[in-house]
Symmetry: D3
Subunit: 328 residues, 6 copies
């Protein structure tokens, strides 16, 4: 039986699947768990990243303020559901003045690798690129060099070295509301220089929900069946983009090789808080917690570019679904 | 007094106009009558076509599944409101392999002509064109040749031959979210070869709701005043397309001649289920039932490209409105 | 302490800030105060202008009818909240036949200058430009020459002459859903010929909510700190435009010089009636009443291009906020 | 050895391949053979069609006048090189008033089928579609029904019935400078109703010169190896479209099946008269004469949307090249 | 017989129509009369304005330098053909600092009104608008207020007051390569404030060369038949814009009323210097000299946005042509 | 006096500045030195790279064949002017199958670093990116990993390590005819992993010729004044892009710091072979030879995306010009 190659997290936020619900991924009835106005100056809090931390949880949150500046903030929670988010955005520590003067930050991910947490985010440096920092306490964040040249978004680290190197997924873009997007894979020996870029997956014209672009979501989860990657796919309707969520299984040692990938979506904008907001019709996964022994997986996703929500799945059901509905 | 030149349908789904409602077309309070998740794998069920069948009703339904593949499904109902829709999409019967390999189907219409039902739909054959099939039982569907070259949508048959020929309305398009669209009329002696194309009507810059494009909706209803055609009109706001419904009266023997056409819309996206969904702000009529003796007309329309809804009107009130508010 | 240089309006529509609300501008819980279907043929009533009149209030209202023609209508109210709007749109009086044949009117403003009310609006004369009329009774409206060449929108008069001239703000545009927009200032000795055009303010790339375009809202309010201008700013998301409201303080004698301007917005589309409607995500201020002695300001704004709403603020709180959050 | 299944034309315009020229298709040094100002009111004469007629040649010519109206004119020549073109455009004879009121005509082709010449052209009927007429004398042209619904261009008839039906290639389009274009095949029993539409070929992303769109050129030439079709392919540079010429061999009885198709172009804009003019960088073939016994083929093509030119090829060399460089 | 209501200019640059040339407007064989590199730092010299001055001629010239900055320069000539152009661009004299800081200037016109020369040009003030200055010596240029709000181009003054006011034609635009453009008329009592705007003419979908936009060219010439206006019209090919020249006759006292307007163009890009250059396919008239007694008219036009050229016409022939080919 | 920090090249191709020519960069009168049809199957040969090699010269050439496939070919020359180019494109040697399967290659540069030649080019790997290979003999080319993620173009190596690392300039792009483009700088310890990305320079709205995008041209030349970088700048006219050439001086040790940059261009499309061809109006520098003792610099540039040309400059004159006309 497939298992997660990872730790136990007995206090994972969890709600069982409702009785009449047949979906492989189900929403929390408490959604949205983080409202847009949690902070006095927040316009919206979404597309955020959460990890176990101490006896509870910590996270890095995208907070757009009422100036509609995009910033990322640190936060903490005892239960993963009720969050205390710093009113001030993260002030990154670096001696490199050129790197420090970023224009915006958004859509963070957090990944524990060996001995510390790494944060990656969309960093404004003459266009969007992938910023990287590390922290051990969610108070001090040490910023490293940007991983890539602009223009790039959705940089997602793997939680261990692969072939001896750090590894990252990303979605190269243009300077605006990019109407295309493939997922690529890159490696680095030192978190400074990146190379060995490999193509992972493209949009699919056949399955409409992922026909415009695709981008990695939470940190991939290592399982006996491969890396479990939740990702977003985008459809272009006559009224704009629609963001949904799917999943893929990537080869454990050559993660640019996609073993399975869901033809149907797992979650799409159906609920009012997903359909109405600053950007209508957005479901955007950014983090996932798991409890290896039980196979429980809890997904944090942004809704309508406005609020933060939770959804749940069980590893076994999910892998069965992914394999049964794969379209490689 | 104007009458419908057609049959009685005493069991037509019907709800009287609410007391305080002064509209010529009014919605069912039971809307949406078909929810998006009626089928286990359905993402949305909308833009569908319904006809009297036996003692009840049958229909062909646009079902987008969770892969966001667009397919059409057969369904049946006792009352026209509660529907049983096949989980499998229609498998069309044809010996012509080239025709069989369609890429998608959507927005079906159904029309009884003489001795059988004809289904027309937007058929993906190297681009969208008009597919045709006939059925007598809503189980076996025999596919004919596509009517036209791509790129075309909204092919709507007349329920009898005109001037000895079959007749169809359609809306030629481009390959994407077409920002233009006129209704044209075509004839065929045999449902295989089509010609004698005539222009019927264009968008109107003056009446904003129909200023971007117009397309035929349900099968035209023959009345003593002409063919009653419900149609959709599209407005382009700064946030995308808005689809509303109007009506026209076409000459009985030269249906490409428009006798009357509503300057105001009859129905526009006002209700939450019309304003919020996969495509916000869509009212898209696809079928109409009528009871000739009473003049009752029941319109099936898709809402927000997500669900199926009902609206009602009375022939006399409607024709009076159409004539009084015409803008030819 | 800052005060409004204007009259008392003891009967100003007013609701105190709710207890737990910390916003400098707060909404009326009665919103929308004017529903879209107030008139039998109205599709939407929004982006409208209100002034004190006699013992009550009068206004000029944008009413899009069900043909989606854009017209402006006169209306009256005892309390500023419950409105009687004429079913017929305003028929402007002018001998100049060339000016009379306008194609549409929308987004009116009303401004009392010395001895009469002036109405300005977006007037369709071979493209959108700024129409001007005056009235003393809200029954007879005398149309003057259009102020500018097309293409222009959001013409807003100052309530007194400046440097001996009439003065107007406007936002030059293109012929469609203009993706740019600065506020300019112009003067006229006689309300017929306009010149001495000055640039006032541009969109700001840094503060996203006003990064696409900005346009003047209500008639500027004269205060001891400068002209208080509420204005709209527009953000372009991947799903279209989002309209929010901010405020600026302009120099009293050289109003093209911006003294303060809010980096954050004051009001943005958060409520269902602002997020859902004919144009989702629109907050568009068009008029403001004030009571000089108390510093109460009541703002009328259009929501979702569909309905009319109220919001409130206190002069002192507002000016403090504007200065503290300015980004000149 | 491959031969043309057709007649002898000993007086075919001909110039041998220059000594040092290794190209399979070579230009006439007399190009352009028809200057843009051959007629007093002509702005340009190009994209025209020529056939043997009596002891000489006749043709139908696209003439854009100085109003930049697009019209087609009849012409005659003794040698196929020096042309007398009527100053008046063709006045088509038809009783069908709806068909008669066309808005423009351009890019004609002429095809002899059995007992008369058929002219097809891009006909403006509420958008571009394919007009058809027949003539026996190039003086009287009897207009038939338009073949298809708009929007379509480059309708090219086959010179004999196929499977008992008339057959035509065409390139469905949109309403403007269409950025896409496939060649389709249609049949008609009677030149009035058309159907049995089949896809023939698409642009090729790999071979840049035909990566945007492809369209049929001259009447296909029947050979023992299949229908020889010259066609245009379009590349989109950062400065617009570039039109070049290739060739394909279609199955004799199922002409929608492409047997061979040139990966390289045969002729592209290299000469000043092809690179400079009303539309820079256009080579657009519209007609071909052949002399079956010798295998000589003379191609008429429009250059830069301005003038008419000649190029030559030999059947054997050409077929060898097409097969050797095919990319099916 | 029609005559020019103006002065004699016996030394008008002139070349008779070549023997075989039947055109109503003919080019100078000396074209281009001003090469692109006349000045050491000039990239191009075009779209310029010329008037009689003293015993010779003076002019204001658009000179784009090698930075591709757009500037206007003063120049002088004895014969109107050989020009001495100042190396430094005009430094306008004004006390109004806000007006002085323009970003660019281009496409000047010069017009003598009563007692001085007025220069109008496209002036960069937060977007393109119409700058105005006057001079008596082509050395000192006194800048006035900009006539209009941005965005506007091609401001052309009438050479006398009309109805007591100064009068100007212009073509409102957007901020870029505007794909639309009508000619409007405005009046001013004082060259400072402008109003009484009237629509003059729109592009014509029927006559392709003027189907995208139209703009006034040289100062209108007063004739007994009306104001003779040369104007440019623009066609959009798949490879960009094509600029040609036509003429209109405007009512003498109500110049916004078009009496005649050429359906065919008078001059279009045919010559290499018109077809090849910084912007291929541009003929853009900017000035005209006339000799009233002989009816000789000499037109200065920019070619390919690169060089300056001359063309000639005779009043009688021209008016006959305009009337005979009018399309009002 | 400024000198080139490099070798002598006494046999550098050279022609003195013509007597009357005052330009700092002047063209070879032998242009184009490589015609488009040098190879039997070449459509065009341009944007190519040349270096001293043995007693003569070697190069890597962009050759688009008549399929309009983009390939790079090796070539050799005795004098740098007359070239022998291999008919077959370069077959790169690599064991890495994923890297090998490129879709296209274009716009190569060649750079000698320490002990071998490095070739960089635009490499099609799921979009354009920067390919790298090295060679010692221009026969065997060993391909390395692509430097960056797509989408990128114009990768240009520095001829020595900087701060211990290899260094490269590049211009991130989108997937098409990118309407933006900045030059960035990146470093690599090993030619495999790249990082420490720094922004170098952006387009300039003020100097039109470089207002749309800028990209590095030849390998930077080390001088006592800094790295001499020739670069291309792009202007967007209403008829498409115009490519010109400028120069910059970059800091020797921090090459992302621009010391000087030409406000005017050095070379722009003026000659017929630059203005007419597959892409009109292109001057695109790709390589430069220099002779350090004399300061002679010979620039190879592509013209009209069709042919290869030469231009010359003298270091002293050039640096004086760059400094005198700088616009940092």
């Amino acid at each position: 039986m497939a298992t997660i190659l990872g730790s136990a997290l007995p206090n994972i936020p969890w709600e069982d699947r409702p009785a009449r619900n047949a979906e492989v991924v189900w929403r929390s009835p408490r959604n949205p768990i983080i409202p847009r106005d949690l902070l006095p100056q927040s316009n919206s809090i979404f597309n955020s990243a959460v990890v176990p931390f101490g006896s509870g949880f910590a996270g890095v949150f995208r907070v757009d303020n009422k100036k509609r500046e995009m910033r990322i903030h640190s936060g903490r929670s005892d239960d993963g559901i009720n969050w205390r988010i710093d009113e001030q955005s993260i002030e990154f520590i670096t001696d490199e003045t050129e790197i420090k003067k970023f224009e915006y930050q958004y859509d963070p991910r957090v990944c524990w690798i060996k001995d510390r947490y790494y944060v990656t985010w969309c960093n404004g440096y003459h266009g969007p690129t992938i910023g990287i920092a590390h922290t051990s306490d969610f108070v001090h964040f040490y910023q490293l060099e940007n991983a890539y040249l602009p223009y790039n978004r959705n940089g997602v680290l793997f939680p261990r070295r692969i072939g001896g190197n750090y590894a990252m997924l990303s979605r190269p873009s243009d300077t605006g509301h990019t109407p295309f997007g493939d997922i690529f894979y890159s490696e680095s020996p030192d978190m400074c220089y990146w190379g060995r870029h490999r193509h992972v997956m493209s949009p699919s014209h056949q399955w409409g929900w992922q026909s415009t672009k695709v981008g990695a979501g939470p940190t991939p989860i290592e399982t006996t069946e491969g890396w479990l990657l939740f990702y977003h796919g985008v459809l272009t309707s006559c009224n704009g983009f629609v963001y949904s969520m799917g999943a893929a299984l990537l080869d454990l040692e050559q993660p640019w090789k996609v073993r399975y990938r869901t033809a149907p979506y797992l979650l799409a904008p159906w609920k009012p808080y997903e359909c109405v907001g600053d950007t209508p019709n957005v479901v955007f996964p950014g983090a996932a917690l798991f409890d290896a022994p039980t196979g429980r997986i809890t997904i944090y996703y942004g809704a309508a570019d406005t609020v933060t929500c939770l959804a749940y799945t069980q590893l076994d059901d999910l892998l069965e679904f992914v394999k049964a509905n794969s379209a490689i």
